[in-house]
């Protein structure tokens, strides 16, 4: 037998079943095969991939004992539980959607329009703008470390990211969309169909992209926006020289029981995630924002807002729920100007007991600002996609 015949036999015996198999499987799942995976298969920084293809949060705070579930305490305290366990593909798909204006009704704004990574995941405005330039009622909160939060929105009316994002998506003054329109536009984009199939491998092939898949992937991405490597963190983990003399003085004023900042802005997240009525003034001419009173139907929460995290606070001016204060210094000043000094006369708010008259000196307030600036860390800032699956231009 000639050598070439043997080779031919082998080729044929391998090729025929291979072709048959290809035809068979292709018939079974006609759209399941894509030459190149478009989504990242690695976790973003701060997360480790486990054997189940889940990204699990790993950072230096994981080395501390959990003494309370609330994740509050001092310098070396464990964080509260984070939303993690999403796949790298879901996280990466969420990143595309986050920056894609296809989510809004007129395809002009994306999540990143108000939560811009170049502005600390906020927008630098006193109150945000929705479609057609609609002026909204409150400031866009930073999304850094949002995966650790148990209450969302300034008034805490949502408890999961998935629940939260439905409001801006479908509010007529924010992104202006409807569930029907959103699903039909996204399902028309072949790229998204491929990417959702990749991010949800158990998804039946003939099933369109679902709203819950869109919200899950965006939540997956948002949960990875971690900022825990500031100068403050270096100090907290034991490096004395991370903070200079002024900054340490600021830290001591921050946590002292005179200023009492740390009582509500509790490390390590710099929020205790509770409501507080502190009585900040609204911008000129605007009525008092009733805050958590409305969603909780509770008069005692009139004017109450969720204590915001102070991480990356230096990047997210102006401050307070309606951006009344332009600088950190002005904001700090508010707390020493007297309990309830800015409350309208016809209001009787139940001001939080920690709001009092600490009589901080100018020197002390300057040091507090020095300290607040040490909470800045953008080392895990995600990459903004250059090209979007929808073909639209990235909007921030």
């Amino acid at each position: 037998m000639k050598k070439s015949r043997v080779v031919l036999k082998i080729i044929i015996s391998v090729a025929i079943p291979a072709i048959l198999a290809l035809v068979f499987f292709a018939g079974q799942r006609p759209t399941a095969y894509y030459p190149v995976p478009l989504l990242k298969s690695t976790c973003p920084p701060g997360f480790k991939l486990n054997a189940n293809n889940e990204c699990i949060a790993r950072n230096l705070y994981s080395q501390y004992a959990t003494t309370n579930k609330a994740g509050v305490g001092g310098l070396k305290s464990a964080l509260p539980e984070i939303r993690d366990g999403f796949s790298p593909q879901q996280i990466d798909l969420g990143r595309y959607l986050f920056f894609d204006p296809i989510l809004s009704v007129d395809q002009t704004i994306s999540c990143a329009s108000c939560h811009d990574p170049n502005k600390g995941f906020s927008d630098g405005l006193a109150v945000s703008r929705g479609i057609d330039g609609h002026k909204l009622k409150r400031a866009a909160p930073s999304l850094y470390n949002v995966g650790y939060l148990k209450k969302l929105f300034w008034d805490g009316r949502a408890s999961t990211l998935e629940e939260q994002m439905l409001e801006p998506l479908f509010s007529q003054v924010e992104m202006g969309n409807t569930p029907e329109n959103l699903l039909s536009t996204v399902n028309e984009v072949d790229n998204y169909k491929k990417l959702f199939a990749e991010a949800f491998p158990n998804k039946p092939m003939d099933e369109p992209i679902l709203l819950k898949e869109i919200t899950k992937t965006i939540a997956a991405f948002q949960s990875t926006l971690v900022s825990l490597n500031s100068k403050y963190d270096q100090y907290a983990h034991g490096y004395d020289q991370a903070l200079n003399k002024n900054e340490i003085e600021g830290l001591n004023i921050f946590r002292s029981f005179v200023a009492r900042c740390a009582e509500c802005h509790t490390p390590p997240l710099f929020t205790n995630q509770q409501f507080a009525v502190i009585g900040t003034p609204e911008p000129e001419g605007l009525p008092l924002d009733p805050g958590a009173e409305i969603p909780f139907d509770d008069k005692s929460l009139r004017g109450a807002f969720k204590v915001p995290s102070l991480r990356n606070i230096a990047l997210t001016a102006p401050y307070m729920h309606s951006g009344r204060f332009k600088t950190l210094r002005e904001t700090v000043q508010f707390y020493t100007d007297g309990r309830g000094h800015a409350v309208p006369e016809d209001e009787n708010l139940l001001i939080h007991w920690h709001i009092w008259e600490p009589n901080l000196t100018d020197y002390e307030m300057d040091r507090l600002v020095d300290f607040l600036k040490t909470l800045t860390d953008e080392s895990f800032k995600p990459e903004i996609p250059e090209v979007l699956p929808s073909g639209l231009k990235v909007s921030t």
Binding site: P45, L60, Q63, G238, N252, L350, W356
Partner: protein, 502 residues
């Protein structure tokens, strides 16, 4: 009689003066006294009480060096110099400073000589005398006066010991451990504090023993804390003597398993000078013990006398703090147990709501025990001994004493979470390095496999590089030094990087 010459007179005078100075110095002057450091692990305080097993600091032997601080120098400088296990001894003198301790296992010990205390004086300008966040902190034998915020405040330090301190007028709180687990507050004397003299806030497993608290708004306050023993304290002439509270709106929501035992709660009739808006500003003057929304509180063998409003007040949040609201704080005091107590001459001059309620009972006196509002499962051992109001639903106590509970502290110190070297390496890699380095792709820095190739089998090479990076590659930005990582973390992460497979 022959007159002495002026010369001899002068000599005699000089000699006499010299002798006087010598004698004066040797009797009244600074003696060079050798002082003995009290061992940190002082185990028995009342040695004659056979069952007093108060272990101040467990097996933690004083292991480090002794740093001495003398008048004129700074305690904070000593703290900066100190390493875990060190003892800082502070000699008599006045120290006007804020001392912060962000390290573990540091002992600060005042040395009292001839009645002279090392005194921290805030001069009403400095916020806090001591702030600590470390575990295993000991603070003892200090006089602390005139601060604006706190005498001693802890944030999330476990295994703390605060004892033998003399604290006067230090602002809002005298001694305030917050978020700590396993601690002892003993033999302190505190007065003139505008909120609580001793405030155990959001803690677990704390003993508060043998303290004297007087002329404060609140004497001893157990707030949003669990497993606390308050024993052998003398609380007198405060607005309220002993308190167990739930304050709504805090991240830790419960108070339960508290024992008030063998305390003197006497004449707590001071006018309330709490800051407007503070929870304690609502405490009526003349309150002996106040239990608000706390569960499983046992009141046993106390002497509770001469408190002009009530001896013991037990209320729910709706009654006691009607303005505050928190749907996650359960507001009823449940399963309160009143055992044997000595109570008389309480309620001689009731005020406010209690006066109004008692008047509906045709009584101008406040009761020994007053209960109002919700709550269930509470019991009392012998109700007939006391004048009571609102105890109709109280059953008979199922226990007669708590002698089997000598302490609420944990049997051993709360261990730090021990992370293995490998885990520390992993946490550092993903928590810090992963921002710039990843396997298989170029981020800001070179891919991890390139680092492995460069430093094969040489973790020290990585440690050296990350401590003081030299820019070796033109096509990459210069790496910022990671010198803030501990030596341990640097080596752990170096080994972890070299061990990574993908």
């Amino acid at each position: 009689m022959k007159k002495k010459s002026p010369f001899i007179r002068i000599i005699t005078a000089v000699v006499l003066i010299g002798t006087g100075i010598f004698l004066g110095k040797s009797f009244f002057g600074q003696k060079n006294i050798g002082t003995v450091p009290i061992p940190s692990s002082l185990k028995h305080r009342n040695v004659r009480l056979a069952n007093d097993s108060v272990q101040a600091v467990y097996e933690q032997e004083f292991s480090g060096k002794i740093i001495e601080v003398k008048n004129g120098s700074s305690i904070q400088n000593a703290v900066k110099e100190a390493n875990p296990g060190d003892l800082i001894r502070v000699y008599p003198g006045t120290y006007s400073e804020n001392v912060y301790i962000d390290k573990d296992n540091i002992s600060l010990q005042g040395v009292v000589i001839n009645g002279e205390w090392p005194t921290l004086d805030g001069q009403k300008e400095i916020n806090d005398a001591f702030l600590y966040s470390g575990n295993g902190i000991l603070i003892e034998n200090f006089k602390i006066i005139h601060y604006k915020g706190n005498g001693i405040m802890g944030q999330a330090g476990n295994n703390f010991t605060i004892r033998n301190n003399w604290i006067i007028d230090t602002g809002v709180y005298g001694i305030f451990p917050q978020y700590g687990k396993n601690g002892l507050v003993a033999h302190n004397v505190l007065s003139k504090i505008a909120d609580a003299a001793i405030y155990i806030g959001m803690c677990d497993n704390v003993d508060v023993l043998h303290n004297e608290v007087f002329d404060n708004v609140a004497g001893i306050e157990i707030e949003n804390s669990r497993h606390c023993l308050v024993e052998n304290n003398y609380a007198h002439n405060n607005t309220g003597g002993l308190l167990a509270f739930v304050t709504p709106g805090l991240p830790i929501k419960t108070t339960f398993d508290v024992i008030f035992r063998n305390n003197f709660v006497v004449n707590n009739n001071h006018e309330n000078f709490g800051a407007p808006g503070s929870t304690v500003s609502g405490i009526p003057s003349g309150t002996g013990i106040l239990i608000m929304a706390a569960d499983d509180v046992i009141v046993e063998n106390n002497i509770i006398t001469g408190n002009n409003n009530t001896g013991i007040t037990i209320v729910d949040l709706a009654t006691g703090a009607p303005k505050a609201n928190d749907p996650n704080s359960e507001g009823n005091p449940d399963r309160v147990v009143i055992l044997d107590n000595i109570m008389f001459e309480n309620g001689n001059d009731p005020t406010g709501e209690i006066k109004a309620i008692m008047l509906t009972q045709m009584d101008t006196h406040g009761p020994d025990i007053f209960a109002y509002g919700g709550g269930s499962g509470s019991t009392i051992r012998d109700r007939n001994k006391y004048r009571t109001f609102g105890l109709e639903n109280y059953g008979i106590a199922q226990i007669s004493d708590t002698q089997d509970i000598p302490t609420m502290r944990t049997p051993a110190p709360v261990p730090p979470r021990s992370v293995s070297k490998e885990e520390l390496g992993e946490l550092t890699y993903y928590g810090v390095c992963a921002g710039c380095h990843a396997f298989g792709t170029r981020l800001i820095g070179p891919p991890t496999e390139i680092l492995q190739a460069i430093h094969q089998d040489n973790p020290q090479g990585i440690v050296d590089y990350i401590t003081a990076p030299k820019n070796l590659r033109e096509d990459y930005p210069e790496m910022p030094p990671q010198d803030y990582l501990s030596e341990e973390a640097k080596m752990a992460v170096a080994e972890y990087i070299l061990s990574l497979k993908h």
